[in-house]
């Protein structure tokens, strides 16, 4: 992957928005990688949790918002529990999902679920998925 950095991106309001929505100080991260080491979902992620924080610091909006990883994270909070700098990484990832969802970019297409799936899957899973994946 080729990544272009610029002062413009780093100073973009996107970085402020992520910090505001997540309530986290992105610059506190010193890239120890503990979040990614403990994350049960890294197998399916294209950008790992520590990279998500780094990308967010650098204002790499397009890369982050197009990533698969932000939809794979299930907010299990293992990263938050282990971060030595007290950063809530899951909140940062939630902020990224929210930026898309608030622009009506739903991730789950509820109408595509079959009747059989809707019957088989318990309400706890359906509601949870709709809360996390739709606006």
């Amino acid at each position: 992957m080729r990544i272009n950095l610029s002062r413009k991106k780093i100073r973009d309001s996107f970085v402020d928005k992520v910090q505001e929505l997540s309530g986290q100080n992105l610059l506190a991260c010193y890239q120890c990688g503990k979040c990614s080491a403990g994350c049960p979902a890294v197998d399916e992620m294209d950008i790992l949790p520590n990279q998500i924080i780094r990308f967010a610091q650098l204002g790499l909006k397009e890369e982050l918002l197009a990533s698969k990883a932000i939809w794979i994270c299930a907010s299990c909070l293992t990263c938050n529990a282990r971060c030595p700098k007290g950063i809530n990484i899951a909140e940062v990832i939630e902020a990224l999902r929210q930026i898309l969802l608030r622009n009506r970019k739903d991730h789950l297409k509820v109408e595509k679920l079959s009747d059989k799936e809707k019957e088989e899957i318990p309400p706890i899973a359906l509601i949870c998925s709709m809360r996390k994946f739709t606006s």
């Binding site: 505001e20 929505l21 997540s22 309530g23 049960p40 979902a41 197998d43 399916e44 794979i72 299930a74 907010s75 299990c76 909070l77 293992t78 938050n80 529990a81 809530n88 899951a90 909140e91 939630e94 902020a95 929210q98 789950l108 679920l113 799936e117 088989e120 899957i121 318990p122 309400p123 706890i124 899973a125 359906l126 509601i127 949870c128 998925s129 809360r131 996390k132 994946f133």
Partner: protein
């Protein structure tokens, strides 16, 4: 003793075995359970973004119902309801401005909410209010020689301010299983996420997790796994179907709610155990151990 109880949506259908075994267990130790009237869905997840107040309304409305029923405490058994109700409560307690905004929004409610309801989980109640040593005396059918692995998942223990046990190495469920006479099996995946709601559109991910989690428990000698979350239960039990399709060498293992194990030990009748709702039938192993 009488306690106020918030069931949550899934306990009324897919997880009826969780509810029935909970109520029978509590009744058999002399605790009366009063279900909250007019409760609503808690929303299942706590909103993690700082400005998203609207999603705290659903859990807070339930806490208003608790006050209306003249209680100041409410018990849940579902790990997700527990986490959402307790976190929303803590969130607005620590921020009077948000509490005002929510109260103003809910101006048709007769009761003003002031953060004055305590949310607790059945496991905490059994440990702190009843006492495990007193509970041990009520066991009529010890789960002898039954090797049980306790799976905690995420939301019973994380985040730290909400959870009631060590985040990395919780033992409360293991301790309970030992009290009931079982051999508790420790395994390294007991707090590893099952994949949660990814089960809706990515069941293949769940197959990977279920394979990893349950194979680890089996390798340590477990004959069954107990859980406290209906979503974990669905992923670890029902999704064994997809797991064995993806991993033919995977061996099935029964997954029970911890309250089903509790109800067996306390002598609850078989109809309250509702094994018909468990996908992998636990009856063969329970019969082998002389428990049913």
């Amino acid at each position: 003793m009488k306690i106020c109880y918030y069931p949550g949506c899934t306990l009324k259908n897919h997880a009826k075995n969780f509810e029935d075994s909970t109520i029978c267990s509590l009744n058999s130790i002399g605790v009366e359970v009063e279900e909250l009237s007019r409760w609503n869905c808690c929303g299942t997840v706590f909103s993690l973004t700082t400005d998203d107040l609207i999603h705290h309304i659903a859990p807070i409305r339930n806490l208003i119902r608790v006050k209306e029923a003249n209680y100041n405490k409410v018990m849940t058994v579902c790990a997700m309801c527990f986490n959402t109700l307790k976190r929303a409560n803590e969130r607005i307690k620590s921020d009077p401005e948000s509490m005002d905004i929510l109260n103003n929004f809910m101006d048709r409610e007769e009761v003003q909410y002031e953060g004055d309801v305590q949310v607790f989980h059945l496991l905490e109640f059994l440990k702190d209010e009843i006492g495990f040593e007193n509970l041990a005396k009520k066991v009529v059918k010890p789960l002898k020689k039954l090797k049980i692995a306790s799976y905690y998942g995420c939301l019973l223990v994380r985040p730290k301010e909400i959870g009631f046990d060590d985040m990395e190495n919780p033992t409360i469920l293991d301790d309970l299983m030992e009290i009931l006479g079982a051999d508790s099996v420790d395994f390294p995946f007991k707090t590893e996420c099952c994949g949660a709601y990814q089960t809706v559109d990515k069941p293949e991910i769940i197959a990977d997790r279920t394979n990893r989690i349950l194979t680890s428990a089996k390798d340590r000698g477990a004959q069954m796994v107990v859980v406290s979350c209906p979503l974990c239960a669905f992923n670890l039990d029902q999704r064994q179907k997809q797991t064995v399709e993806k991993y033919p060498e995977f061996k099935h293992i029964p997954v029970l709610y911890f309250t089903q194990a509790l109800a067996i030990a306390l002598g609850c009748p078989e109809e309250t155990l509702r094994f018909d709702l468990n996908f992998i039938d636990p009856k063969p192993i329970l019969k082998e151990k002389g428990l049913i």
